[in-house]
Point group: C2
Chain length 307, copies 2
């Protein structure tokens, strides 16, 4: 099984109540490929960076089985840069600076080796670019996962709708589900969104867990109440990376297996937020993951007694 | 097994995006006793109403096994009245009018028959009044559940702390847990609050479910994603009524059984919000409850496959 990941690889400067991290590696493509490579090899990463990007991080990805044939390195430009400050509750944040740099003209080219990938995950990018990736493939993947955000609903809704027709799984947060559907009830929102194309909808609710819908069923995966959330950056992408990684490894795209996949995704995201950026993901053992999965299961485990 | 319920019985005028309900019956004592009586008889209700309160609702309670020996009816005053308007998201609301009326001088007197009750639940009232109820009992209940709110943390924190020393279960929402403990992480907040007296802490997160803590363990009960939330008034009290009703019926105060109890509480609360006020609770069959419990269980049911 092979996985194609398309997303940004970038620098983030992060301010949280716990400290400041300057120009650390981030971006959806970085988080997704790093997480998915815990489960499946090869991962093909399609992205773009500038002259300022550290070779050491690329070497790290390579050592984990992430193929970089589709990574464009522009010698005359800088990498995408985002500077954000989280509020005290860590659920909301202000963007202090965004420099698109290489991302402004990013036009992903899927390398030959990845055009027949078994699985595809599209990190948050313009819907036009996401659709352009799908159109380069020479074989239909077993599953296409798409992440997007409210910004594209505001400025590129029609393009987003065309892209939604081509994907199997959409991952968005609760506010985005409400915006995309125009209804407040998440159950009704899911029904409307599933008529737009995807077979599955995953609604991410951050510290409140995640919901998985298909046309008939609903499943809820809790988030683990953590001692401390240190930095939420990348949690959604890490979640998505865990989801697609588990699916690709097991080769099963049924609703039952997607339930398991979002538990794995939730477990991976719970590590991500424990440290700045990708730090915790880079220092994760098999045993860490298994123990965290146990915690997730015991959180809702119950022998029901009816009266 | 017998249950003593202390709380308000009142009139609410409610404005939601779905309509207006004028002067319908509400109050924590009404919701809790109505819900608990689905599980256990007798329920003894200690409360106060005025000359304007409908005998028909009292007859309804009596027909469900709710003893009214402790219900004071003041012929020269009016019942407690609250008028609120919910915002579009139904999670926030404005108080438009509060008339304390009989509640201003409410001094609960526990009738003889209820002084040896097996279980006690104290709805949201001033901590002084709540403590005064406990001090009237002639036998220690198997379990005392206390509900409170941020208002008492603002104006009567010392009294609240004294009351917390006397109870077994505290039910509050996530913001209140943060306020009471002074820490943001709910896991840390729980640890601090459990040092204040209670053996168990239940943190209610509304549409995001509920957490149950003791000193060693944590359990999460999801909320069912509903087609439509019509009126959230009374959901927290209905949840508490279901929790104490299930515990009283089963006679088991272990952590394992409290897990089951909060699933029952969540199921009962999910009915409450489907109609205005107590309407849905008054028209609920055994079969409705069983089917809802099935929905709750399937929501997180999972056969995990490790990889």
């Amino acid at each position: 099984m092979s996985l194609l990941v398309v997303g940004s690889v970038a620098f983030d400067t992060l301010e949280t109540p716990y400290g400041v991290a300057e120009r650390i590696v981030g971006g959806s493509g970085a988080y997704i490929s790093l997480t998915a490579s815990q489960f499946i090899k090869p991962v093909h990463l399609v992205s773009v960076v500038g002259r300022d990007f550290p070779q050491s991080f690329l070497d790290e990805l390579k050592s984990r089985g992430v193929g970089l044939d589709g990574l464009e390195i522009r010698k005359d430009e800088d990498s995408f840069f985002w500077h954000g400050r989280y509020h005290k509750d860590l659920n909301t944040r202000d963007t202090l600076e965004t420099r698109l740099n290489v991302l402004a003209t990013f036009n992903p080219v899927v390398p030959e080796v990845a055009k027949t990938a078994d699985y595809l995950i599209l990190g948050n990018l313009t819907p036009d670019v996401q659709r352009g990736v799908i159109e380069q493939l020479t074989r239909k993947p077993k599953l296409i996962v798409l992440d997007t955000m409210n910004f594209w609903m505001d400025v590129a809704l029609e393009s987003l709708h065309r892209t939604l027709l081509m994907v199997d799984v959409l991952t968005i947060n609760d506010e985005e589900a409400r915006q995309l559907s125009g209804v407040y009830s998440l159950r009704k929102a899911a029904r409307k969104i599933l008529q737009m194309g995807p077979t599955y909808l995953i609604i991410k609710k951050g510290e409140h867990g995640a919901l998985l819908f298909n046309k008939e069923e609903v499943f809820f995966a809790p988030a683990l109440p953590l001692e401390e959330v240190f930095d939420p950056t990348g949690a959604g992408d890490t979640f998505a990376g865990g989801v697609i990684g588990y699916i690709a490894k097991t080769g099963d795209t049924s609703f039952e297996n997607l339930k398991r996949a979002i538990i794995y995704g939730s477990a991976m995201a719970s590590f991500c937020v424990e440290r700045f950026g990708t730090e915790r993901l880079l220092n994760l053992t098999e045993r860490d993951i298994q123990m965290r999965l146990d915690e997730f299961q015991s959180l809702t485990k119950l022998d029901m007694v009816r009266i």
